[in-house]
Symmetry: C2
DNA sequence: GTCTATAAATAGATAGAC
DNA sequence: GTCTATCTATTTATAGAC
């Protein structure tokens, strides 16, 4: 009914957001329950009142973002249009999600990097769903002849991480001033970045014919 | 002299390797000193005898791998040849390093994902050095006209993570049998994978002329 | 160099009053 | 729903014998 899985109450939403940021900045293991409560300006016991455990809280954060991203990816994949356009749309959508949930890129990146060890099967399936949608688009392009043959997973893992890293890095840049090079991560506009990834992805996938 | 920074004694080398694997599998925060000692089949006190702390041990593991990878990247960048060939060579070299040090991909991937929070300046500079070498190659290609213009960092972050993820995932694949799709990460040969990345990178960077 | 025993700090989690 | 106080287990790290 009016009830959704999203955080409802005041303190619950505060805990959720504080946790999302804490997990994003430090990763699951390094995240501290005390710090989450502190950031949410609620008592630690409230955290356990709303969520069963640190793990449960983390799972909620994961599912919330995977649900949003997975839904968009699936909608695009099942919609009309040529594969090239769908891929562009997916890239743009992903960037929008990263803007709406700043904790999404670092968290998802770590999960990919780690092989998702502290994720239950259902949540893992949601993460997999994001890939499956993109896979469908790539396979469509291969059927249409616009994309070259090859394992879609490899293409997926060339496109997705670069987007995640770009946004994950924006959180930590400017702390390492002394070092040349990495500091050169140009503060380009988001639009410019989106177009760059879209062009790179298309070039990478374009069939040679 | 005969003294290098590499682990020397028997137990020290054992600790080093055990730590490398533990850090790779779990990440710095989740890694347990007790487990490292156990895996190395030495007493925990030995670990602190050879290395000052968990952090110190982690730093040694990081430096060892960044030294090796950075040296190869720099050698390639400063050597002769067109940029396209250099890029291919770097990709192949990176894969070789990943084979020689299986802990390298997961660890480096996590550091990139996290913005390298538990890394001292000197070690961070080594990590940066890997990028700077690749940047030089890309800029050479841009001068030569074979690579199109654009921030080398963006290209770097499309190539490197895909390689790291491919190898990092090989460690954890086959544990998640129930889930379709991700399981489809084809057990292709390393050579095949190298050629795929090389072709993708070239296509991505090729100037349109 | 190697080990036992233990310190000291901190973590996640809960009991129970309000 | 909210808070205080606290339990219990675990973790990094070290002292000190051999």
């Amino acid at each position: 009914m009016g009830r959704t899985k999203r955080p409802r109450g005041d303190s619950q939403a505060a805990v959720f957001r504080a946790a999302a940021h804490e997990f994003a900045e430090r990763g699951y293991e390094a995240a501290r329950v005390d710090r989450i409560a502190q950031r949410a300006r609620v008592n630690k016991a409230m955290l356990y009142y709303h969520y069963r455990s640190k793990q449960g809280l983390y799972t909620e954060v994961l599912r919330d973002m995977l649900r949003a991203v997975g839904l968009r990816a699936r909608t695009i994949a099942d919609g009309p249009g040529p594969a090239g356009v769908k891929l562009d749309t997916w890239i743009a959508a992903l960037v929008e999600e990263a803007a709406a949930r700043p904790w999404f890129p670092p968290i998802m990146l770590r999960e990919i990097a780690s092989g998702a060890p502290h994720i239950d099967e259902a949540t893992f399936a949601m993460m997999n769903g994001v890939y499956l949608a993109v896979r469908d688009v790539i396979e469509q392009g291969q059927r249409e002849g616009s994309f070259r043959q090859g394992d879609p997973l490899l293409a997926y893992f060339m496109i997705l991480p670069s987007i995640l890293i770009f946004f994950a890095r924006q959180r930590v840049i400017s702390q390492r001033k002394g070092v040349r090079g990495f500091a050169a991560a140009a503060p380009r506009t988001t639009d410019e970045f989106v177009r760059h990834v879209q062009r790179s992805a298309r070039a990478m996938l374009r069939s040679d014919t």
